[in-house]
Amino acid sequence: MTDLTSLTLAEARKGLADKTFTSLELTDAHLSAIEAARVLNAFVMETPDQARAMAREADGKIAKGDAGPLAGIPLGIKDLFATKGVRTTACSKILGNFVPTYESTVTSQLWRDGAVMLGKLNNDEFAMGSSNETSCFGPVGNPWRRDGSNTTLVPGGSSGGSASAVAALLCMGATATDTGGSIRQPAAFTATVGIKPTYGRCSRWGIVAFASSLDQAGPIARSVRDAAMLLRSMAGHDPKDTTSVDIPVPDYEAAIGKSVKGMKIGIPREYRLDGMPAEIEKLWSEGAAWLKAAGAELVEVSLPHTKYALPAYYIVAPAEASSNLARYDGVRYGLREPAKNIIELYENTRASGFGAEVKRRVMIGTYVLSAGYYDAYYLRAQKVRTLIKKDFEDCFAKGVDAILTPATPSAAFGIGEKGGADPVEMYLNDIFTVTVNMAGLPGIAVPAGKDAQGLPLGLQLIGRPFDEETLFSLGEVIEQAAGRFTPARWW
């Protein structure tokens, strides 16, 4: 039998339906792979017993012909998603051994459709980071290495565990979240496919909040089709999240292979950064050429406020985070440090429970919302946000169907290489992705090639609100042209 972990989700679905193998076999294969790959530190909690129980249940349903769309498919879950009865920490010490009594809407929909949970995946603490180095469980290793090098690289972040686990074939797909690029950047760093859907497409209920107006769940998967299958189960209106949108979820998989002929693809002038590596430039041109070859029309477009996106993002996101993280106070759950009075309890608990990057953002957020600074920072950033949104609207109003950009300004870097002295160096990783969150649009990252050192690079497609289907159609074209990439196993 072929190695069951090397299948795509679509292939596994067929194998299960044809009874070529069982979900239990598929699940066991992945559990073994996880065990063998602990050096990657992708999983922070393995749930083999639960996985096998869910797999058996799925096998029963498949046998009865009562299988959901994801029946028997083993997945990894980012530790930001609350999972009932299974420790959920957002990879922060402050949540300690918090075990939710509730299941997030997104994961409950996956279980409803028959998926199997392998365990909880590592991420940057409270999803704050672009390298998965801020996790209280330690950094995650990227299964990719530079040619001829033993240096462990970061998988990107904040969904580093999700990207690493999918790339290393530890799970068939993973949930992830994206506030400024946390799905698309790690997907690009690991040659996986990641889509951040339109804001409001997936429920945020039961996902530990980072920045409420930007956070959105999405899948990281091995192929565009796999991502489409996963998103279909994850998406949908939820009355418990009033920012989720009540429009039907289409069959995203039906968009795969759909002709892109005549589609207008915008190439934004402002994304051509000074000092951008030539190989990123080359990748971008190549991607454009593939789409053109498939019949799409390329047009240069302008998104004039792009350069203000990152600074504005680093006001809005920390502002919301500073308020969202106020609930971690040592009073009701999670870590509580000893103290003589309530102020000390707050101070001691939060000082020892939060890591440096989280503290930095809470401080920034508190500052920009302070009386006297609110207008100069927060209000202005919101105005910039409106302008960024308008840039995209103007562009789509001219008939542009999607916008093609690089996903990241570079390939994966080594653990400890970036952001040590200057956090902005790390923040620049999200330069191509934050605008999408600021505008609430869908964005997909698709592997498109490798750099000179053999590391994967990705392209990003940005779509109209709630038009994820076009992104899947276009993403498939890039995937077909570029091929799929699998890292050589070293772990």
Binding site: A209, S323, L369
Partner: protein, 492 residues
Amino acid sequence: MSTATHKLLKGATGDWEMVIGMEIHAQVTSNAKLFSGASTEFGGEPNTHVSLVDAAMPGMLPVINEECVRQAVRTGLGLNARINLRSVFDRKNYFYPDSPQGYQISQYKSPVVGEGEVLVELDGGRSVTIGIERLHLEQDAGKLLHDRSPTMSNVDLNRCGVALMEIVSKPDIRDAEQAKAYVTKLRSILRYLGTCDGDMEKGSLRADVNVSVRKPGGPLGTRCEIKNMNSITFIGQAIEYEARRQIEILEDGGQIDQETRLYDPNKGETRSMRSKEEAHDYRYFPDPDLLPLEFSQEFVDALRSKLPELPDQKKTRFIADFGLSAYDASVLVAERESAVFYETVLDKLANRAGDGKLAANWVINELFGRLNKEGRDIAGSPVNAEQLAAIIDLIGEGTISGKIAKDLFEIVWQEGGDPRTLVESRGMKQVTDLSAIEKVVDDIIAANPDKAAQVKDKPQSLGWFVGQVMKASGGKANPQSVNDLLKSKLGL
């Protein structure tokens, strides 16, 4: 807008005027909390009415309870206020264990209800109109319990997240009497609307009172805020004390520090809680978990069409329909329960239009008078509306006199029973049978020939004869019949 003269305080340097504004926190009458499905029931075991949202568990999101929105809009309409079709929920950030989220969801820049006004009646037929600045919805906090452990405090989150309406007045109030009357009137309107039970003892209605003093007509002084008042009497006392404290400081050449103060009813004084320098920076910003609150004019109009009659309208109607005095009408409408009682009596009367005024007199003078004397409220009245209506009918139809009616009321109060049956069984019926009265009249005239002779010159002495006849009949003779009969027998 003040049309009433108000009280000035005398200081060493002359008269001082008080300027008072109030923020009333009224708990919304609703089954569930503002943003969660947890029960709002009062008095449960600690932490039994707490949802995951109330406890601010990770990943939980607020969802607006539409019933609370309807209640806020209805209240706004009752305050003759502008209803904002679009308003915004903001986060007010602060750390305290009674606030699990680390912020209170409130409305800061865009409240659901804008400017309105309340007509407030004062003694002696005076009245004053107090402006409403705004009304907004916000979450209540939990409660700290300090008596359960020697070293720690506990927190009860049952109230946490319950909907409050914060009703902010303009600084239009000028003395303690007006302040008390304003709270009383507001509470009455809320109870009529059924949007807040107004129970101050349970904390359903609390007031923060802003007080400053100035020379009459002079510029506004620095204000102090007296927090969390839950008794109308204490509000009056606190204002008087606080104004005098400020006058004393100013007259001694000092200045007022803007600060938050607490009133100690045992000592009858206010004391500093925190100064402006210690004031929190709440870092308000729009709550990104909630969309702006938007509804249509049709939604508002539908609520308006179903509003109950409010005290001011009821008062006008009572005066017009039954010829009540403005004072009597005010007394009847002041509390919803009183008005309901009066109207129930009216509904049971045989002659509603004719006896409405009589009924008002009986409700106010006999019933309320008696209830007040015994320290009871209308809900605990031994005489119900049906019984009272029967008594009034008996007077109206001439079956009993007003005097007998008072005796009958006393019997019903003490023993209960159907007034009409009691009148029969106890022989209290007025005697209108002329032959029965005639005998008594003849006897009295025969026994008093001197007086009978005098009465032609002194017609006013007829009253003595009437009194004698009534006395002899045990009060049951019809006074009019007695009068007529005496007149004819005495040749008047």
